[in-house]
Subunit: 250 residues, 2 copies
């Protein structure tokens, strides 16, 4: 087995030929289950630290194409809609991670990284780690304090979460995070988790129904101790319209 | 006088030493008057096309520092709060602008540009063009179709406006765009201009007052044909709080 340092040296040689210097992209893929948000992370062979799936931009590749390829190459994930949420451009934000190498290593130069986030139904995603990683897996946000995240990747996750929180006020959310059929109480739980606060049940039900993005199904969730609650799904047509037009306070 | 081509050749030599390749930043500074939004543009000596104030990132400079310096260097503008709103990373988005030059020109390489926008009170800003520009001035958005904008700068302005429109649903707006004292009808006009639609007066007054960010002054706007309307100013403390906490629909 090639050791993890040798892997970086091999990558460096190729990278100099194919990729733009100084620019990278990192992806924050959020999932939701057990009433918690989680994020997709790689555990690197090198130093055993955790990292967001990220990579470089090819010289002849549009940025949008690059980030889709990066997520596929590094985590085996496809079919995800990615949205830019921030640029991380401080000096020395990543250089020190490669302190075991000399300055000729491609990966050790200064990189300004562009953050993209995506929402993904956890049950439909089967991550595959790349050659640089021991594993690629979901980590609950509540577990992040217990693991070692490399470089400024905690800051990048925090900014992605902040953006998601702002976006929930102007765009419908849930389509990629909930199963196809869900109860209103499950949808409320998702909103509460993202916003980080409890919502009044009556207000939430009224407002979410007023958006016109829900279809009540002729089915109930069976098995609980209480009266079986109605199941809902999203009205795809109206959901798409609401995404385009936004939900304005004004 | 040095011709505009020679200016670029001189800049190229220095740029290779000081700046990161492949990365640039562009600023979209919005102002508001005559019930219209306007944007700060440079008219370049070269080709007489209009451009957003933009530039490169020094090798030893944080991205945030770079964009502040760029706006100062190119337009003489200081003290503006800039916010990132998008990254423009298509191949060949800027290269063709320099078709009169050979490939060794620093400016002609592929650039991925990072967009920052700012809101600024038009009356307090006194733009000064740099050496590459004939003039630096406000152009009303309604005038944009009549002028020749270089590269993808129209797309960049459109994206900035879209972001501003989304942001108005989650953050208070107006502090940097209106004079210190204003009427509710002037504030409504600003919201209508950004949103691109008319708002119901009663609803707007009720909602904006509910935010708690306004102070009614003991003064009226004199001189109109109608009953003199009350003047307002922003309650700085509460405005700041609302900026931090956001205006949630939920």
């Amino acid at each position: 087995m090639i050791d993890s340092k040798q892997q970086f040296l091999n990558q460096s040689k190729e990278a100099k030929e194919f990729f733009l210097p100084h620019l990278s992209a990192d992806t924050v893929v959020f999932g939701f289950d057990q009433n918690e948000l989680k994020v997709l992370l790689l555990k690197m062979n090198y130093r055993k630290q955790w990292l967001l799936p990220g990579g470089y931009i090819a010289k002849d590749e549009d940025l949008d194409e690059a980030v889709v390829r990066i997520l596929k190459d590094r985590a085996g994930v496809t079919g995800v809609y990615l949205e830019e949420f921030g640029v991380f451009g401080k000096k020395n934000r990543s250089e020190f991670y490669f302190e075991d190498f000399d300055e000729t290593l491609f990966q050790k130069q200064r990189f300004i990284t562009i953050g993209f986030y995506a929402l993904y139904s956890a049950s439909e995603l089967h991550p595959i780690p790349d050659q640089f990683s021991e594993t690629c897996e979901w980590v609950y946000l509540s577990q992040l304090p217990e693991i070692e995240l490399a470089m400024d990747h905690r800051e990048i996750i925090d900014k992605a979460l902040l953006t998601l929180r702002e976006r929930i006020s102007i765009k419908p959310i849930g389509y990629n995070l909930l199963p196809e059929k869900f109860t209103l109480s499950e949808l409320q739980k998702l909103y509460e988790t993202i916003l980080g606060k409890e919502l009044n049940r009556g207000n939430f039900y009224r407002k979410i129904k007023n958006l016109g993005i829900l279809k009540r199904l002729d089915e109930q969730r069976r098995g609980g101790a209480h009266k079986a609650p109605d199941l809902y799904s999203f009205d795809k047509e109206n959901y798409k319209k609401a995404l385009q037009n936004g939900l304005s306070n004004w």
